[in-house]
């Protein structure tokens, strides 16, 4: 071995196998928990985002409620309204085809569809369920949300071929006790009632959607609202990167005076929950890593107290302070390296075990996976912490005054 400092470090490590192992085990446990918890958060977040995009597009464009202006001036007369309220105007988007086309021209947009949403009452006999019906071009809609995958009965093509067809959420079908092929009566808030044939039943796994949402053809929805065949009240668009949706939202807002919202605004509560959870898990796992680093600090400090004579003799024979630091940092690094490797193995084992735990419901198996960036991050953090924890005792050792040792 070329470098005597490394040789001394290795000799110390080998001579103190037990302490080395204990220090390394501390890092192992800290690191495996860190890796496990962060994979858990990340896996769950990915699952939740995927859930969100089953029924939410990255961008939504619609006409927002507008409040009456409080101050109206006509000529030289100023009129003030003391209790301005929402103006009950139509939600119609004017010239939606043109808007959709200009949205589609944006380089970051992958898909854009028009939709007619209305509040619907599903009736069968005396039973009634309230919800939202979406008037869609089901082929385009399927391209965006992959609805066919969630069909429990029927196919989306059946809706396209049947102007009086409806695809129901499984929750509605259960409550009304209806099956594929049955007829139900659907009423809208403006008083239009139609008998529609159930051509499909879907289940997303989200009770909010499954218990209230249905799909009809766009022309049917226009009839429910007593609107013209040009009526559209919402445009949905998907982008190339949902993480950058806020940026795209601002860009799209330049194209239109209608309200543009991204999924982060629509799901602000879920995202806030996710952020809180991430911080919570993050700080807990971080704290565990810090505790592990203290283990290294402790063991190295006691090694140095016991080896103080050796340090003095090394310094007397010409070893510099920086050599002493190198010796003990190498020891810390070896402990950290052993601990980190074992920690990643243990953490991976935990992830593997949890992957095979069946949670049930829409989640299925636990949404956790091996993520290389998290593993790499854990490894680097583990090493960084051990080196930091080793540095302070090593610095102390470097400052040992050999004379004070020899004169004892």
């Amino acid at each position: 071995m070329k470098n005597p400092n490394l040789e001394i470090a290795f000799t110390h490590i080998v001579a103190r196998k037990k302490q080395t192992l204990i220090a390394a085990l501390g890092v192992t446990i800290g690191l495996s928990v860190y890796l496990f918890m962060n994979s858990l958060t990340s896996g769950f977040e990915r699952f939740q985002t995927a859930e969100t995009f089953k029924s939410t597009a990255h961008i939504k464009i619609y006409k927002d409620d507008e409040r009456a202006k409080a101050l109206v001036s006509s000529g030289n007369v100023e009129t003030m309204i003391v209790n301005p309220q929402v103006v009950n105007s139509s939600k119609e988007l004017i010239n939606p085809e043109q808007l959709v086309n200009s949205v589609k021209k944006e380089p970051y947009i992958t898909q854009a569809i028009m939709q007619v949403d209305f509040a619907a009452f599903y009736n069968k006999g005396t039973a009634q369920v309230k919800g939202t019906s979406n008037g869609v071009n089901i082929v385009d809609y399927n391209a965006m949300f992959n609805t066919q995958k969630y069909m429990k009965a029927g196919t989306i093509a059946d809706l396209q071929n049947n102007k009086n067809g409806i695809i129901l959420g499984s929750g509605i079908a259960d409550k009304l006790g209806v099956r594929l092929g049955d007829n139900i009566s659907v009423a809208s808030s403006v008083g239009v009632t139609k008998n529609l044939e159930i051509v499909g039943i879907f289940e997303l796994g989200s009770s909010m959607v499954d218990n209230g949402t249905s799909y009809v053809n766009i022309s049917t929805a226009q009839q429910f609202l007593k609107e013209s065949p040009f009526f559209v009240n919402t445009i949905y668009a998907n982008t190339i990167d949902y993480n950058k949706s806020t940026e795209y939202m601002h860009s799209l807002q330049q194209l239109t005076s209608y309200k543009v919202e991204d999924w982060k605004v629509i799901n602000a509560d879920i995202l806030a929950g996710a952020t809180t959870r991430k911080m919570m898990f993050g700080s807990i796992s971080f704290a565990i890593l810090v505790v592990a680093a203290f283990g290294i600090y402790n063991i190295l400090s006691s090694t140095i107290s016991q080896k103080i004579n050796d340090i003095a003799i090394l310094k007397a024979t010409g070893y510099r302070g920086s050599d002493v630091i190198q010796i003990f940092l190498t020891e810390a690094l070896i402990m950290g390296l052993m601990g980190s490797i074992m920690g990643i193995l243990l953490g991976s084992l935990l992830i593997y075990l949890l992957q095979h735990v069946y949670v049930g419901g829409p989640v299925g198996y636990f949404p956790i996976g091996f993520e290389i960036p998290i593993i790499a991050q854990s490894f680097v953090l583990g090493l960084l912490f051990t080196v930091l924890a080793g540095f302070f005792p090593a610095k102390k050792a470097a400052n040992v005054d050999p004379v004070s040792i020899f004169r004892k």
Binding site: T11, I313, A316
Partner: protein, 231 residues
């Protein structure tokens, strides 16, 4: 008389201890040590002889006055410069051997040379073995240092002090822990080093016979040089 080469020179070295109360332990000590000289430092406990030795060793830098080695000023050099100087030019032998217990005798001897890197590790190993042979320790070469007797450990530490062929060898009570037989062995080695290798030896000792047999003795008392000459 031929002009002898001055290896080490102290000019007015003073030192104070501040604990428990301020006390001047060295009072402007000046002396010269020459090449190939076997010098002993004697004096009662507290006379300042060990303190002087550690100032000469470059490990204690908290003193007044100046220290020269081969006409080069040592006082005021950086800790790293002093480390390199110790590594290259000074060998140490202590009363309590201070070998690294986890290492073999051979490795203990090699360590200062591995730091100096003047020779390849293989050459260093050969040289270290030669030193052990010279001190009749080659049979112990591969034993851990902690398994040796006191006299053997002291000889290993002498081999370690010699590995880089230093100009100066400083000893703090090198025979304080040894029986008379081993003391004689160590003395003979020192004598040989000074006469044959022209190395300068400065040894602090309590042993009057040991001091008498050396080339020159400096007797310290109350931080001053009392006697400087052959006993």
């Amino acid at each position: 008389m031929e002009e002898r080469k001055v290896i080490l020179e102290s000019k007015n070295i003073s030192k104070y201890f501040h604990e428990p109360s301020t006390f001047q332990v060295l009072k402007e000590v000046s002396f010269k040590a020459y090449e190939g000289e076997f010098l002993t430092l004697v004096g009662k406990s507290g006379s300042g002889k060990s303190t002087l030795l550690y100032c000469l060793s470059t490990m204690d830098t908290d003193y007044g006055g100046e220290l020269y080695m081969l006409n080069e000023k040592i006082t005021g050099q950086s800790p790293d410069q002093l480390s390199d100087l110790r590594n290259q030019s000074i060998g140490f032998i202590f009363q309590f051997h201070y070998l690294l217990p986890e290492f073999t005798c051979l490795k203990n001897v090699m360590l200062p040379a591995l730091k100096l890197k003047k020779y390849s590790p293989k050459e260093i190993e050969e040289r270290a073995y030669e030193k052990l042979v010279a001190l009749d320790l080659h049979e112990q070469a591969l034993k851990p240092a902690s398994k040796l007797s006191g006299g053997q450990q002291q000889r290993v530490s002498i081999a370690r002090a010699l590995i880089n062929d230093p100009k100066i060898i400083l000893c703090d009570e090198p025979t304080g822990n040894l029986d008379s037989k081993n003391t004689q062995i160590v003395f003979d080695i020192f004598k040989q080093l000074s006469t044959e290798n022209n190395q300068t030896i400065i040894a602090v000792t309590h042993d009057n016979d040991f001091a008498k047999a050396s080339d020159r003795t400096i007797e310290m008392s109350d931080g001053k040089i009392l006697i400087n000459g052959k006993l």
